[in-house]
Symmetry: C2
Subunit: 316 residues, 2 copies
Amino acid sequence: MEPINIDNDIINMEPPPSPKPSFVRNANLANMKEDYLYHLALDSKNHDLRDMFKDVKFVCFGGSPSRMKAFAFYMKDQLKYKMIAGQTLENISKGSDRYVLYKVGPVLSVSHGMGIPSLSILIHEILKLLNHAGCDPDSVVFFRLGTSGGLGLEPGTVVISEAAVDGILRPYMEVATLGMIIQYPAFLCPELNKELLDTAKSIGCQSVLGKTMCTYDFYEGQARLDGAFCDYTEEDKMNFLKRAHARGIANIEMESLCFAAMCHRAGVKSAVLCVTLLNRLEGDQISTPHDVMEEWQCRPQRIVAAFIKQKLGITD
Amino acid sequence: MEPINIDNDIINMEPPPSPKPSFVRNANLANMKEDYLYHLALDSKNHDLRDMFKDVKFVCFGGSPSRMKAFAFYMKDQLKYKMIAGQTLENISKGSDRYVLYKVGPVLSVSHGMGIPSLSILIHEILKLLNHAGCDPDSVVFFRLGTSGGLGLEPGTVVISEAAVDGILRPYMEVATLGMIIQYPAFLCPELNKELLDTAKSIGCQSVLGKTMCTYDFYEGQARLDGAFCDYTEEDKMNFLKRAHARGIANIEMESLCFAAMCHRAGVKSAVLCVTLLNRLEGDQISTPHDVMEEWQCRPQRIVAAFIKQKLGITD
């Protein structure tokens, strides 16, 4: 079953224009004497956030703390970033055990945990951080480097998300706000995606553009048969996944909807690159050997590293 | 503004009866040769899960990995749990960096990260783990030990949740499943809550029963004024929080709805105990000194430890 192209689907339409970029849209912030970025263990009173973060140009998000620590050290090598003798990279948010945050010159590497709520807290605080630092919202790019289940793709393929949809294919994130459910469109940047796809090709990394389904639940929300609860059959599951695939869904994960919606709302350029760990049309359980998975999980990192080096004019 | 009692609210009604307790409700599991509990880094092929976990009676969940590690060591002391010379407690899920999992005799201490999706993955895998271990679903109790924002309570007060509701007061969790939105009621056990309240009193720990609002977003979802985005006024915020308080909401956090709904669905006895870190009717930012917060965060742990000791017949 090949993906079909349905031209009048909202998720096949051109993304709506982003607003003028601005890290924050909150009139109350100007009146705050101090700002505690609680989950990052940073604050505007005890830290000189401008001095620490003013040169940030690329913010790379990923779920796992150890993977994002490894990415920071990988970027140190890739950017040939010179450290002072006897010094090493440190987790800037070590006062909190919610997220890790590393900085390598213009690159931040930060972990977001699993699921939309955990990511949402982090993006609020990273946006406020960049605003305190006086960074230029026109020139900062956000990347999510993640893992996912693929639909009809060879495991190890990197999906660059054209758009994110929820578990019933709605292309927006809902936020219950003061008793109203507000919808924020979850579109990503076609131009940036085109550049990333070219970069992936140039380093020989198998990548495709596709739509990403983002769910609030890993088991039933993603039609798995192996959760503690399941009241549908394998046939029900396959019919659902095949229908999603036919409408252009290339992979399924748990954060892209929030990532795309919050970046779009701020007007910050962003992209989501997730490697597929398995083909969900063939199974549910992840039993690939650890070392193979490790190499796969590095693929989104390699693409983004190559992209950043190109932007910074760093050649090997 | 005192909470009002509105007798025909669903959330003021008696909880519906739980089904016959069963850790899993999934006919597919019986046909699986092996089960990878991926996010716990445990599996039924390489680990003797029955041998490792058959004596578990109390499963304690909390958001922060370091807090749940500390709780495990605290329980070791409280239960006078004898370790073999030269040995210490170890993170059983050290092969994953998603959650930490410690075991102290009949007590598991496990971290769930932030938000419903992160907790949901963990509960699926813990329920399957206890099923593999052959534990008795009638005699295992689950606790969530957390932090929250309070409404009209002195910070440091522990709220024992009578029921959980979402950000617009619906007493159920929704799971998008194969194209349908299924609703699971989020009720907790009145008898267990009564026992916990008595235990709290007996150790002099300020606690109240109340309803808990559980949101998918920490900033706008909880009517905060200090997120990256905010398009409402302080007056809007206060009106919303006061209306929630008047309907019996005592605190706001991000996991109780899923915790209550999944435990209720399995028929497993469960309770949610969250300390309030601030009074949201007075502010948004958390700036209490670190050592005071640390002591507050231990209060739910102290209550649950006293409860478990009582059940096990351990006296000081």
